[in-house]
Symmetry: C2
Subunit: 204 residues, 2 copies
């Protein structure tokens, strides 16, 4: 009855906060979300598929796309480019499907600049102590590196103000429920739906 | 850890849409919400209690409160006043509890004027046909009265734009889930919580 466009949701937060864990747990519960497929210049690995794992492009192709502003964000990592293609996101949204993107803070800010109509969710650690524990427990980092990563996280937490929502990751299932609530409630936002409801209800 | 003020949620919508049904179903599932207690000049009935069913006041007392802007909204109905006392709402919110108010459209617009920081949810009928059925099935109304009420509902639907969210009441349980999602997600709004998170995370 009501035809609605999808919404781009961006989950981000400091390194070590557990973005990947929350995203995986969310996708186990919610099959309506479409995970954003990245574009990369790295080689396709055995078992990977075009338009499933990544969109695979040459460096020249990728650079052209950067110039033509066809990427919502991109970064270079160990000699290869990775990015989020605008066309794929827009086509998925146009079909009425939500797109979900999990990404580090700098990438999220790029997306916000290129696609401000997205909904930006900042995943926050419950405390600095807890974030430190998570960074340490990942393994082999030296003390100096832990201190560096903690300072980087603090710098990223400062950028919280660019986001629409803050979800604390104290318990994964609670954080997932909050993200699900955000997804559901954003679809009820008056500015998204009022026009169509009024049409259906014949008052316009 | 994070101390948060409560939020005032206002559920409204045209007469016949099922506001009371959704509110009752919501309160059966959600015990953390505090229903807003109205003030009235009507006589206390057997079994009713002050500050549970209503706050009971004389007409003179009520009129003084109107003059002193101590009511978020009020209306006269069959010779008595009914209203929402600002003080009760503010004290409940200050304790960290959410307040939930179910009210007709004109009342909601008064609340919005006096308490714009509230969250305003418009309950919408799925179709005009369905709204007409609900009005007719309530019973004894004449055809002319049904036409009048339907026109009044259409006028109220025009006022949707003053609201933050629109929830369609096609199925009560779905509508309740959406209202619950709105409550949960509003508590994650960055402008409400970022300051406190930054404090806890020692970046401010």
């Amino acid at each position: 009855m009501i035809e609605e466009k999808g919404i781009l949701f961006v989950l981000s937060g400091p390194s070590g906060v557990g973005k990947g864990t929350v995203r995986k747990a969310l996708f186990e519960k919610d099959t309506a979300l479409q995970y954003s497929i990245s574009m990369t210049t790295r080689q396709k690995r055995a078992g990977e598929q075009e338009a499933v794992d990544y969109f695979y492009r040459t460096k020249d192709e990728f650079k052209s796309m950067i110039e033509e502003n066809q990427l919502l964000e991109y970064a270079e990592y160990v000699g290869n480019y990775y990015g989020t293609p605008r066309k794929y996101v827009e086509e998925t949204l146009a079909k009425g499907n939500d797109v979900f993107l999990e990404i580090e803070v700098q990438g999220a800010l790029q997306v916000k600049e290129n696609f401000p109509e997205g909904v930006f969710v900042f995943l926050s650690p419950p405390s600095l102590e807890e974030l430190k524990n998570r960074i340490v427990s990942r393994g082999t980092e030296s003390d100096a590196l832990v201190t560096n990563r903690l300072q980087a996280a603090k710098d990223e937490i400062q950028l919280m103000d660019a986001y629409d929502y803050v979800v604390v990751n104290d318990q994964v299932d609670k954080a997932v429920e909050k993200v699900q609530a955000i997804v559901k409630s954003e679809h009820c936002k008056r500015e998204r739906v009022a026009k169509q409801y009024k049409k259906v209800l014949e008052v316009e």
